[in-house]
């Protein structure tokens, strides 16, 4: 082994950790995913909407009839904000796990793209933006139902439209980092059952975080979904969220850390 060889090796290792190189080259890759989605748009929207709707209406009106008030409002109104956040979370997670993994590993779509003048960082950014876009539609669809049913009437609730993409970016980024480590689809089931579902229980989707024992509350406030519900719920009730800045910062921090981790892990996995 030559001296040049020894000298170059640390450089290579460092470049895996270099900051992501972001460019607009992600746009054609995003458009590729959009074109696929367009072919199946109607069933996709209905499929994304049906599941959270059933939970929201079934639990909200069914279980809600047995409950006096939750968090100072009727249960369906309480649940509306949780459903917007959780539906966005699920949609971003599903797209960044199963769909991104299919394109990367099964269909080898990423390989084809990287033979063109598009880099891996561009592809990962495109997947992030795409999963966030798709989850934005899911969140928006639930919001539309919430407005249509009169569960939220305040103009402040329009600001929730701005929170949904943040939630989407956050969970898409974390999802991509998980995908970068996945050997197969089975891995994703663990992520859903061990991370996403417990998070829904802890983070104020179905009941107020204050109901939890103190230790669990402390855990809840470390998790991103709590900061999503703590932004969206007051907005739907026509109130200004109490911790806007810190909630937004936590979501952004998770998005940034998740994306950076994903880029590093994908580089180590694919560029060798």
């Amino acid at each position: 082994m030559s001296n040049a060889d020894e000298a170059l090796r640390p450089m290579r290792a460092a470049s895996d950790y270099a900051p992501p190189r972001l460019s607009l080259r992600f746009v054609p890759v995003w458009r590729r995913n959009f074109l696929v989605w367009k072919k199946l748009a109607i069933p996709s929207i209905l499929g994304n909407l049906a599941d959270p709707m059933i939970y929201m209406l079934g639990l909200g009106y069914g279980l809600g009839a047995l409950l006096p008030e939750v968090g100072g409002v009727s249960y369906i109104v309480f649940l509306a904000a949780g459903t917007v956040c959780f539906s966005t979370t699920n949609s971003a997670t599903f797209e960044s796990l199963y769909s991104a993994f299919s394109r990367m590993h099964v269909q080898r779509t990423w390989d084809a793209i990287m033979n063109a003048p598009v880099d891996l960082d561009d592809v990962v950014l495109a997947e992030l933006m795409w999963a966030a876009s798709k989850s934005f539609l899911s969140g928006l669809a639930i919001l539309a139902v919430v407005w249509a049913l009169g569960l939220s009437t305040s103009p402040l609730s329009l600001l929730a439209i701005g929170v949904v993409p943040l939630v989407g970016l956050c969970f898409a980024a974390i999802g991509l980092a998980i995908t970068a480590m996945a050997a197969g689809y089975d891995f994703f089931m663990y992520y859903f059952t061990l991370v996403i579902t417990p998070m829904a229980m802890l983070c104020g989707v179905f009941f107020p975080i204050e109901q939890l024992p103190a230790a669990f509350q402390a855990i809840a406030w470390v998790l991103p979904l709590s900061h999503a519900t703590s932004l969206v719920r007051p907005l739907l009730l026509g109130e200004i969220p109490a911790n806007i800045v810190s909630d937004v910062l936590v979501l952004l921090a998770y998005a940034a850390a998740g994306f950076y981790t994903a880029v590093v892990l994908f580089r180590r996995r694919l560029l060798k």
Binding site: R9, R32, V36, R108, N115, D119, L271
Partner: protein, 315 residues
């Protein structure tokens, strides 16, 4: 006739790809151990080697998808990996495994792929009929990928590699898994591309493919080039001009006789290979043994390849 060479920005006789002393390891395994070669504008250059010889790794290094531990790659005048992305604007790739977009039609595959090069939709759409005609897929623009045969998919992949009118096309075993008809059609198209002035780097382990298509080729083994030249030069340099292959009942017993009649004799399984400048005496010996069947032929690239890389199996 379809003509995909719209522009020629560089003077002739310039190397479009130069690879110098590449080293690449995966863990303890050294995949490339000092790989050097260059490809001149307008030639079809072959990388020939058994499985695991380092052909695909070389291709990935040339495209800047992997970084070497040592060595240099100059692709279309640009250093790789530093300027790999920019160089790939003028490169086409036909990968070993099909990775067409299964969700799209034939035409959509070309349109979407052209966008990755920053091409405008109108420009790509205008090119699609010519590309499909070239690939023998005229009239299949709206077909779904699942309805295409293996040969059609390969030809679409070839068409896709031309969407940006590349100067240099990398082809990684483009005919593996195809039937003879499909293979011959791909060969015709590659010859047409070379006639149009395109440069091709062809990875293959098919000897007849390399012999037909490549002006020059390099034989790789264990991450190194062990021979380089035109197919004729390689045959003349490394092997006796005539070959007699004998097989059938009693062939192995005859091998001892053959060794006295030809300068080099090899036995593989039930077949005896006699390599010689003059097969007269070998043939005379075989004439007296009607139980033995034989084939008398000119030496070819496969003989060179087997002599240089050995006959044992590679996995």
């Amino acid at each position: 006739m379809n003509d995909f060479s719209l522009t020629s920005t560089q003077p002739a006789n310039v190397n479009v790809l130069t690879v110098t002393d590449l080293h690449k390891s995966y863990g303890e395994q050294e995949v490339l151990r000092g790989m050097s070669f260059s490809v001149a504008r307008g030639e079809c250059f072959g990388l020939l080697g058994p499985n695991g010889a380092g052909k695909t790794t070389t291709l990935r290094l040339c495209l800047g998808l992997v970084t070497a531990e040592a060595g240099n790659v100059d692709l279309l005048g640009m250093p790789v990996p530093a300027d790999a992305r920019r160089a790939r604007l003028r490169v086409g790739v036909v990968p070993q495994m099909d990775n067409l977009d299964p969700d799209f039609t034939v035409a959509e595959n070309l349109l979407v792929y052209g966008r990755y090069f920053g091409l405008a939709d109108a420009g790509i759409r205008a090119r699609i009929p010519d590309l499909l005609e070239f690939a023998g897929l005229a009239g299949r623009a709206e077909s779904r990928i699942q309805t295409l045969s293996g040969g059609m998919k390969r030809r679409l992949t070839l068409a896709r590699s031309l969407v940006n009118d590349p100067d240099l096309i990398f082809m990684d075993e483009p005919t593996t898994g195809l039937d003879p008809q499909a293979r011959h059609l791909i060969w015709e198209r590659l010859k047409t591309l070379v006639a149009q002035g395109k440069t091709i780097l062809l990875n293959t382990h098919f000897m007849d493919e390399a012999e037909r298509l490549c002006a020059r080729l390099a034989i790789l083994d264990h991450g190194r080039i062990i021979a380089l030249g035109s197919p004729r030069e390689l045959i003349a340099r490394h092997i006796e001009p005539e070959v007699v292959e004998a097989y059938g009942e009693g062939t192995l017993a005859w091998a001892a006789t053959a060794r006295a009649l030809a300068p080099r004799v090899e036995v593989t399984g039930e077949t005896v290979f006699c390599y010689t400048a003059d097969a007269g005496r070998v043939l005379a010996s075989l004439e007296g043994r009607p139980a033995l069947r034989y084939l008398h032929r000119a030496a070819n690239l496969e003989d060179v390849f087997l002599k240089l890389t050995g006959r044992e199996l590679r996995d």
